[in-house]
Symmetry: C2
Subunit: 208 residues, 2 copies
DNA sequence: ACAAAAGTGTTGCGGGTACACCCATGC
DNA sequence: GCATGGGTGTACCCGCAACACTTTTGT
């Protein structure tokens, strides 16, 4: 009974939620897009295997990463049990190994890209969990740089939720409830008007 | 790499949240209390294995049962990966096989009973999930008989949440929002005053 | 008659949503 | 001077929490 992990790595790029897929270099399903994943190394824990996969593909490791669900009979894969994880990364910190043989690349989640095995199911599940977590945690910290404008933070929310939010209500929520605080510094480059930069009061996952 | 399932089976008994434990008949940890579980049968899915374990121990199968979390390195068990599930049963419908060699029995969750492997961790996690689910789903349907008094339903909530609730606010919530409806029948036996019997508008898991 | 549990309404507060205008800067 | 995006305050609504007394029945 073989156990594998797969990681759903999300980022927000150009106001769209994106997921990292690789092009399979080996059979089965050679040439098709799939989630990064694989079997555990000898003695490796599930969390460690997920972190390793994440770092292999993106170069980052200090981000939000959480176990999602355990599937069996996922497509025609070799593993009989697949433990899925999901991660959130700031695209500005990632360095994809695009020259590697499996060509990792970002794909917009909508419309859903064609994927091998039953990876679409895993992605949909992860997306739903992400939307829920947005509402009652600070996980979005993991999708943004250390300092950011509130507009950018709002765009991140809008990209994930798929709906527009009211600027003033959004500000009140996130600053009023102490999720982020102003740094006193301003964004200068190319902005029509300098915008206040904010930071999270905590860069650890927490429930609000 | 062996995969096992374990099932955290909860019920409410005498105003206390209880969990079903078995006494291990074989090494390792012979004689200690542990969650029911075991390896998958050949070709069996995870969900099917969990349902089978649940039915073996309690005799019921049409109840709330959901995957919880996947652990590795749980205690000194044989399996390297343990997929946990949790279930909610009405104690009135269960028939424990108490004469079997592993003597299944109900144990109050607080104070936490001593358990083999790291089963205490699994139970705590399941309890937390249950408390959360109570607030935004109708899962409690699975802990009650078909018809019940609102007082009994409220006691079930109080047993799980560990705090007392206001009678009038509770009624408004559950009847006002259409989670349960009055049947028109009354509880007659031994009651100080006949009480209206209610039923769930749906006996399927749903988010409110 | 008394103990035990069922049943029933109102008020206040807080969080969430809807909504429109002015200002500073870059071009 | 104009287009772009940043920043700000108020009013309403609804869900939630707090709160006390009367009624029926069994003993």
């Amino acid at each position: 009974m073989a156990v594998a992990v797969v990681v759903v790595i999300f980022t927000v790029r150009q106001d769209r939620l994106n997921v990292l897929l690789i092009e399979r270099a080996a059979e089965p399903c050679k040439g098709e897009w799939a989630l990064p994943g694989g079997l555990l190394l000898p003695g490796e824990t599930l969390d460690a295997a997920a972190r390793r996969k994440l770092e292999d593909e993106t170069g980052v490791s200090d981000v939000f990463l959480e176990q999602l669900y355990t599937f069996d009979r996922l497509g025609e894969g070799r593993a009989e049990v697949v433990v899925s994880y999901f991660a959130l990364v700031d695209i500005g910190r990632t360095r994809l190994r695009s020259e590697s043989e499996w060509r990792p690349a970002w794909h917009p989640v909508r419309p859903a890209p064609p994927t091998a095995f039953d990876n679409g199911r895993v992605i949909r599940y992860a997306e739903e969990r992400l939307r829920n977590k947005l509402e009652y945690t600070n996980v979005v910290y993991s999708l943004l740089p250390e300092r950011f404008t509130l507009t950018r933070m709002q765009q991140t929310y809008e990209a994930i939720l798929g709906e527009r939010l009211d600027k003033r209500n959004f500000r009140r929520r996130v600053v009023g409830l102490g999720i982020v605080r102003p740094t006193g510094r301003f964004e200068k480059q190319g902005a029509h008007r300098p915008a206040m930069l904010y930071e999270f009061t905590s860069r650890e996952p927490m429930v609000l």
